[in-house]
């Protein structure tokens, strides 16, 4: 019973982490790119790079999340 409870709690915790992890990483990447663009005046390019890198960070974060026991 205790083990079942434990697995359930861990499952819910994992599910609750995955979504926010991806969205937040993409948002942070995009905002960093946007801020650097506004500071350096380099068109939309750093914003694009930031969103792509942020998305990659989000996927990588989820990958690490589901890989850790």
């Amino acid at each position: 019973m205790a083990d079942e409870n434990d697995a359930f709690r861990k499952g819910v915790a994992l599910a609750s982490r995955v979504g926010v992890e991806m969205v937040a990483a993409t948002a942070v990447g995009g905002l960093l790119g946007y801020g650097l663009d506004a500071w350096l005046g380099t068109g939309p390019w750093l914003l694009v790079a930031g969103v792509v890198l942020g998305g990659a960070a989000g996927f990588f974060g989820v990958y690490r999340l589901v890989n850790t026991p």
């Binding site: 915790a13 609750s16 982490r17 948002a27 942070v28 930031g50 890198l53």
Partner: protein
């Protein structure tokens, strides 16, 4: 119909300004004081007549504290004993803030992103200070995960910087979004309970949103506990990574 977000607006009850900083007392502040008081009251009642064979309340408190200590030591290592008071305080305060909003007529302080944001910055700040204190500049190797080949560094370092920066944001947004969303659903269901019979002309149709609001209330109680648990275990994981590097 009432705006379901109206509940989340804060208005100063006692306007206060200190050196130009607005420190007005509003309902979130008062609820946090009450939450603090409830935690203190709970532990006072639980430990008032402490006995070797624990009574009901004492055994609940002991189980919770043992659970948190186990979590801290498992994730942080031997240093976990030192951080246990911080972890336990965080857990009980967040839990009390989450649960207190489920009492009708009260308010959830954790449905304000400034509150959860400050908790998250505190946890992340402590983990950064701990990491630099223990490892010095060597702590920057946290940006290169173990087993990364050298030619991937230009790609991995920006990605790791972004994932590090998103940590306090995920902590804050998860808690805030879960608490706010649940309370919006409850408000909408309660409003529907009053409005639906009038619009549809069927008196007893209000029982449907009412039944659902009871189910959602139970779910919200569960979410309040699970979110406090997630917040605390992530605090442990981040502190643990600062101690162990990777």
């Amino acid at each position: 119909m009432e705006n379901p977000l109206h509940h989340f607006e804060l208005h100063p009850i006692l306007p206060l300004h200190l050196f130009g900083i607005d420190i007005s007392i509003n309902k979130a502040v008062i609820m946090m004081w009450i939450a603090c008081g409830l935690v203190l009251l709970f532990f006072y009642l639980a430990t008032r007549r402490a006995s070797l064979v624990p009574r009901r309340l004492q055994s609940v408190a002991e189980k919770a504290v043992e659970f948190l200590r186990g979590m801290a030591v498992q994730n942080i290592g031997p240093l976990g004993h030192k951080f246990f008071p911080f972890i336990a305080t965080l857990f009980f305060f967040v839990l009390a803030n989450n649960v207190i909003g489920l009492i009708p007529g009260s308010y959830t302080p954790t449905s304000q992103i400034i509150v959860t944001g400050f908790f998250a910055l505190l946890v992340y700040g402590v983990s950064l200070v701990l990491g630099f204190a223990r490892h010095g500049l060597h702590f920057f190797t946290v940006l290169t995960p173990a087993g990364t080949p050298g030619w991937l560094f230009p790609l991995m370092i920006p990605i790791e910087v972004i994932s590090q920066l998103s940590r306090p944001i995920t902590l804050a947004v998860r808690l805030f979004a879960n608490m706010t969303a649940g309370h919006i659903i409850l408000t909408v269901l309660f409003s529907l309970m009053l409005v639906a019979p009038v619009y549809l002309g069927v008196f007893y149709i209000g029982i449907v949103p009412f039944a659902m609001s009871i189910l959602i209330y139970g779910l919200e109680l569960f979410v309040a506990f699970i979110q406090a648990y997630i917040f605390t275990i992530l605090a442990c994981v981040y502190l643990g990574e600062s101690v162990k590097l990777h």
